[in-house]
């Protein structure tokens, strides 16, 4: 029996061998529109970043910034889920950032208005580290927002929430 070997991916400790095997495989030219799609995504990202920058660089009195906490306790364990939401005082724009969530999972960001109506705003997929962000969101006009919640897309369970 070999000690200390992973029971998961046998190639985990051999990225150089992965690269060598990949480079030696018969080549297939990717479709031209793959690059077009990448460029389009980069363009959208740049525009979103600019909009996010414009939002986040507003004076503090024109923004509401909140940390989201779990439903059970307001005291967050080290490495526990954490999120921050920034909403413009007019309630029409927001930015959302989260860390230490389950990796590669889909969530839904849901705002609640003062009149009780829910505004499912966007879907968010965490990356391999459990981080995620929605750097710029346009919220539909309407009554003032009163709270925000991050819910698991599959079960609807609220993972983090905050009053606004």
């Amino acid at each position: 029996m070999s000690p200390n070997l992973s029971t998961s991916d046998p190639l985990e400790a051999f990225p150089d061998v992965v690269a060598a095997l990949a480079l030696a495989m018969p080549r297939i030219t990717p479709p031209a529109h793959l690059k077009e799609r990448l460029d389009a995504r980069l363009g959208d990202f740049a525009r979103e970043r600019q909009a996010s920058f414009n939002l986040l660089s507003r004076p503090a009195d024109r923004l509401r910034t909140r940390l989201l906490t779990g439903p059970e306790s307001r005291r967050r364990a080290k490495g526990g889920p954490l999120a921050r939401v920034v909403v413009s005082s007019c309630g029409r724009e927001a930015a959302f950032f989260c860390w230490y969530l389950p990796p590669r999972e889909r969530f839904t960001l849901v705002f609640e208005r003062a009149d009780g109506t829910l505004v499912p705003c966007a879907r968010l997929d965490t990356d391999g580290s459990g981080d995620g962000e929605l750097p710029f969101l346009t919220l539909p006009p309407g009554p003032p927002l009163s709270s925000v919640a991050l819910r698991r897309a599959a079960s609807g369970e609220t993972v983090l929430s905050a009053r606004l």
Binding site: P10, P15, V18, A22, A24, R27, L38
Partner: protein
């Protein structure tokens, strides 16, 4: 815009690690032209690897897009201590393709091989330079020679892990061998491969 030095590097096909490191550093700083160059250099082998794992053009395209997007967004997470940039990029590509394969929740039991003769598309882009063709053939021949030095079981196990993303346990079950034996044989096989490819 591609600089003359970049053009010289890309014409050599297998880019020096130092040039790739420079590109990663530029990408980290938000230089989109560096991503363009990296894409030009690696899109074909990345797409080919993903295609080989998924056997589906649409899915391969989506996954390849995500890989280059991840390179753009997470260049600051690249750790040179864990390998040269191609090692990082191909590991990302393989992991994402295998994630997609697993998410299909079905695994076709087909025969696979690194050198599957049915998958010999154009060896390189039609615009490939003679140097690139030579470089590709050299790496392919080196890998073939290195694979031939493995035992049949080692070779099969490495291919199952590389292209199907099977774990030690799954390979052990598939080959009907004890888990410890599988772990040892794969590890020894990969160390041998690494030695021959060096």
């Amino acid at each position: 815009m591609e600089s003359s030095s970049d053009a010289a590097v890309s014409e050599k096909g297998s880019a020096p690690a130092a040039a790739d490191l420079e590109l990663i550093e530029k990408i980290r700083q938000g230089d989109q032209s560096a991503l363009d160059l990296l894409y030009k250099r690696y899109s074909s082998p990345v797409y080919s690897l993903i295609w080989k794992i998924l056997q589906n053009s649409e899915e391969a395209e989506d996954v390849a897009l995500d890989v280059f997007w991840q390179v753009w967004r997470q260049a600051d997470r690249y750790d040179p201590a864990r390998g040269a940039p191609p090692a990082w990029i191909f590991t990302l590509a393989r992991s994402r393709a295998i994630d997609r394969l697993r998410s299909r929740s079905r695994r076709e039991d087909r025969t696979i091989s690194i050198d599957d003769p049915n998958l010999h598309f154009d060896p390189l882009d039609e615009n490939a330079s003679p140097d690139q063709v030579v470089s590709f053939r050299q790496s392919r021949d080196a890998v073939r020679a290195a694979m031939e030095k493995l035992s049949v079981v080692q070779r099969e196990a490495v291919e199952l892990a590389f292209l199907k993303g099977m774990t030690h346990v799954e390979i052990s079950e598939k080959l009907g061998l004890p888990l410890g034996t599988v772990k040892t044989r794969i590890r020894q096989g990969l160390i041998r491969l690494r030695k021959h490819l060096d």
